[in-house]
């Protein structure tokens, strides 16, 4: 067994050697290995702590205190061919990076039917890094976005079949943006380092129509994030607005609807629809205090969705899982840029869980996100950077659960 794990480690370290982007828009949907291995189709069951993300109502059916925690290793690979007007054969590769969003959930039944829980996870994030002197250096050389959602949640079981849940989300995060500034004279670099916070809420409901069939729905609100920080320019020319900088970002609302069916004592299947209200992200407007100027990058994202299918097969203490997802990009063709080389994608999920005893379980999941090749030919003048993006992402998650 050790040998097998060793070769797995070698395999993932190898794939990590490649490079950096994640989920459609800058969303992250991997918040628990059990859900992830089933294509993220989990809102109608939500049987572990990740219910805080997928459907808080699911907590009400969890009758024992439990801790569920883990991480996802994300290794994106992206290549850009272009700009088309330069040379279709010219290839730029995203620099290799490894991202490790976390998830920690603790739930505790306070009294019959009422469960309290708290979770910490990273529902939005992004990281891209290109060569300092690549053809798109005036658009982006490095972006790193990280958000932490801290979500105290309550769930209540109204009847044997019906439960509801709700929570608040305190959001804290940071953004780092680096690129070359085109001044006509020289190539100063800007480094924009902002930190942000905001509040949101989430609600959910779950209904067990029959012992075999259940339906779940949840909604997480938009979060208005106020970011503040500093802009640093190298070299510092007075025409460049060094110093305080601020921006506002409205993180999109997300809704899930799922339907789960227990085919047999061993097999459960689920299909989910996830709605992402990305039209909230219409521009990235950074205001510079020193000269009251504003740098506006139009984004004009559109609302998008993810289709999720997955299931679990029980084999003694082992749970074998698999799934598939289709994730629709919220970025319109003319707004595609190397800061976030987005495209529609198909995800193939596999994984397993093992219950060591009454208390302790371990879950593994692997997701391969295959991006459709995206050729953009008419980017807006602010971008004017046409070409073809090809990307895939390896995601590997591990979570351990302890039920008291």
């Amino acid at each position: 067994m050790n040998k097998t794990i060793h070769s797995l480690v070698v395999f993932f370290v190898c794939s990590v050697m490649t490079s950096a982007v994640f989920a459609s828009g800058f969303q992250l949907n991997e918040h628990g290995a059990r859900a992830m291995a089933q294509g993220g189709a989990f809102a109608a069951r939500a049987t572990d702590g990740s219910a805080i993300f997928f459907n808080p109502a699911g907590l009400a059916f969890q009758t024992r205190p439990s801790l569920y925690a883990g991480t996802t290793l994300i290794s994106p690979v992206s290549e850009f061919y272009g700009p088309t007007q330069l040379n279709t054969n010219q290839k730029s590769e995203l620099q290799s990076q490894l991202f490790t969003p976390i998830n920690i959930y603790f739930s505790y039944p306070i009294m019959e039917g009422l469960t309290a829980a708290v979770g910490v996870n990273n529902p939005f994030g992004l990281g891209t890094k290109w060569n300092e002197n690549w053809a798109g250096k005036y658009l982006t050389t490095k972006v790193y976005l990280e958000t932490f959602f801290i979500s105290p949640t309550l769930a209540y079981q109204i009847t044997d079949q019906l439960a509801i849940g709700a929570g608040v989300n305190y959001v804290t995060g940071s953004v780092l943006i680096e690129r070359a500034v085109f001044t006509g004279a020289g190539d100063p670099r800007v480094s924009l380092d902002l930190s942000a916070s905001g509040w949101g809420f989430n609600v959910g409901a779950m209904y067990k129509i029959t012992p075999e069939l259940s339906i779940g729905a949840s909604y997480r609100s938009t979060v208005k994030v106020d970011a503040k920080g500093t802009a640093k320019f190298t070299p510092a020319l007075s025409v460049l607005p060094a110093g305080d900088a601020t921006t506002k970002i409205k993180l999109p609302a997300v809704a899930f609807v799922g339907l789960a069916y227990k085919v047999s004592e061993e097999l459960e299947l689920e299909a989910d629809y996830q709605y992402n209200g990305w039209s909230s992200y219409d521009e990235l407007a950074i205001e510079f205090k020193s000269n009251n100027s504003k740098s506006v990058a139009p984004k004009n994202y559109q609302d998008s969705f993810i289709l999720r299918f997955g299931g679990e097969y029980k084999l003694d203490a082992l749970r074998l899982r698999a799934g598939y997802l289709y994730d629709k990009s919220p970025v319109k063709d003319q707004f595609v840029e190397p800061m976030l080389p987005d495209a529609n994608r198909n995800g193939i999920n596999v994984g397993f869980g093992y219950n060591f005893n009454e208390n302790f379980s371990l879950d593994f999941a692997y997701l391969l996100l295959l991006f459709n090749e995206r050729k953009v030919e008419s980017t807006i003048p602010e971008i004017n950077f046409d070409g073809t993006y090809k990307s895939y992402v390896n995601l590997f998650a591990i979570d351990f659960g302890y039920t008291f």
Partner: protein, 483 residues
């Protein structure tokens, strides 16, 4: 534990199957090519714009980004079998200012001001003189349309009145061909870019309509251009020829920088008193730069703009016009008093703007007609630079404007493109070539071309570029073909 082992094994197998090896296949796209065309030799004919003249001088590190050199590079990427594209390289920091004997090249010396001008460096020397054939880049700074077929010896052109040593630098010996055409023909090119005529109006405009006092007349230009173009086509019947027309002179920062900086310096109730065309004495007109057809002040006036309101006759002393013309009183406030007006030579007034504009229109009419008649492709540089002036030009996150220094497109002399500007110009040619002959020549990557070097620090002061007046003598001789 057996079950766990099975699970791990299954997962590993699934991963290996789904991964199918971690590679991304190259997307299918149009590869660079020349279509059904071949290019075995490319020759560029033109003036300073073709030569890669930049920031008031010709020097190798700018010539490297001359638009013809960039086009030659892109042609090779598309499969052209052209040999080395040979240019009359001038070692950095480039040619000497004929007055000082030091390097003429402008640099951004200080951001305080800003201060722009020659650094007083020892001039460079021509580098590529051992070449036993003609240069592929036959761009000659200062050349007018007349020069294309002119057989006057190169050394005579280096003396008065033209004082233009670039004919000797570029064409070298008459054994290689007595005219630009002869040298171009000898190379048997199958691709020619031809961009002449700019100086037939630029000399007039940059000298504030003084020297020469009129652009080349439309009729003479038409005759000279037709003669030039007929001979070119007759010499190279099968060559692909690309011509570019003449951008309107008022689209360049040389004319649009100083006026807006001077405007806020005029006290309330006071006017800038300036001489109009042909005026050498009392001011003929006044402005606060609020009217629609306000005069344009040339960049040459930078050194005098800071003297506005002072009781000075510096301009006359610098020009050697002593004593100043009758009616001028240099004890009156310079520029603000009708008896000590802003000089005609530093002003392109409304009438002169009309004259220059009419010349450009007439020249471009001739060029368009001849290009069509002789089967040449036409690059509408006038439309391009007019649009740049109005809307700027964006590429991969770089927003160019027609602004001086910060606009990125023009070099420090405010007339000639910067290195990045050379790339932008090259791309205009490439776009037309691709469209005309169904070629897929890749565009120049402008983001990889260096910007104007900037000293560390901050731009401060009144923003009037402090350019030593003496350094503009180059401008006089570069275009002063008539005197």
């Amino acid at each position: 534990m057996k079950a766990l082992t099975i699970g791990v094994a299954l997962l590993t197998a699934a991963i290996i199957v789904t991964m199918g090896g971690c590679t991304i296949s190259t997307p299918n796209g149009p590869a660079s090519n020349l279509g059904s065309q071949t290019v075995t030799r490319y020759v560029a004919i033109g003036n300073s714009l073709t030569a890669g003249y930049q920031s008031n001088a010709l020097y190798a590190s700018a010539q490297d980004f001359s638009f013809p050199n960039l086009i030659a590079r892109q042609l090779r990427l598309a499969g052209a079998t052209i040999p080395n594209f040979e240019q009359p390289l001038y070692g950095d920091p480039g040619n000497a200012d004929p007055t000082t004997g030091k390097a003429a090249r402008y640099e951004l010396i200080s951001l305080v001001g800003p201060v722009i001008g020659p650094r007083g460096l020892t001039a460079g020397a021509p580098l590529n003189t051992g070449l036993t054939r003609q240069y592929d880049n036959l761009g000659i700074p200062g050349a007018v349309i007349f020069d294309f077929l002119d057989t006057t010896s190169f050394t005579i052109k280096a003396g008065p009145p033209r004082n233009n040593a670039f004919f000797s630098l570029v064409l070298r010996q008459s054994a290689l061909g007595k005219t630009i055409l002869a040298q171009a023909r000898a190379l048997r090119p199958d691709l020619v870019t031809f961009w002449l005529g700019n100086n037939d109006v630029l000399g007039y405009a940059t000298s504030g309509g003084v020297s020469p006092s009129a652009p080349t007349s439309a009729a003479i230009f038409a005759a000279l251009y037709a003669q030039a173009f007929d001979s070119l086509r007759a010499s190279l019947p099968n060559a692909k020829i690309v011509v570019a027309n003449i951008p309107n002179v008022t689209a360049i920062p040389f004319f649009n920088t100083l006026g807006p900086k001077v405007k806020p310096l005029i006290p309330p109730g006071v006017y800038l008193r300036y001489q109009k065309h042909g005026n050498t004495s009392l001011a003929f007109d006044s402005t606060r730069f609020t009217e629609a057809n306000a005069p344009l002040l040339t960049l040459t006036g930078s050194a005098y703009a800071t003297l506005l309101g002072a009781n000075t006759g510096k301009w006359y002393r610098d020009k050697g016009i002593l004593p100043p013309p009758a009616g001028i009183d240099t004890t009156k406030p310079f520029g603000f008093h009708p008896q000590n007006p802003w000089p005609d030579a530093l002003t392109l007034d409304a009438d002169e703007q009309v004259v220059a504009g009419a010349a450009v229109n007439a020249f471009n009419g001739t060029i368009a007609t001849l290009a069509a008649a002789k089967g040449a492709a036409l690059v509408d540089m006038n439309a391009f630079f007019t649009s740049v002036k109005a809307n700027g030009y964006s590429s991969g996150g770089q927003k160019f404007t027609a602004d001086y220094i910060t606009g990125g497109l023009f070099s420090l002399d405010g007339v000639h493109p910067s290195s990045k500007g050379g790339g932008v110009v090259a791309n205009q040619f490439i776009k037309v070539m691709n469209a005309t002959w169904a070629m897929s020549i890749p565009m120049v990557d402008i983001s990889s071309i260096p910007s104007i070097p900037v000293p560390f620090g901050k731009i401060s002061g009144n923003g009037i570029p402090a350019i030593p007046a003496s350094s503009f003598k180059d401008f006089d001789w570069l275009w002063g073909q008539s005197n």
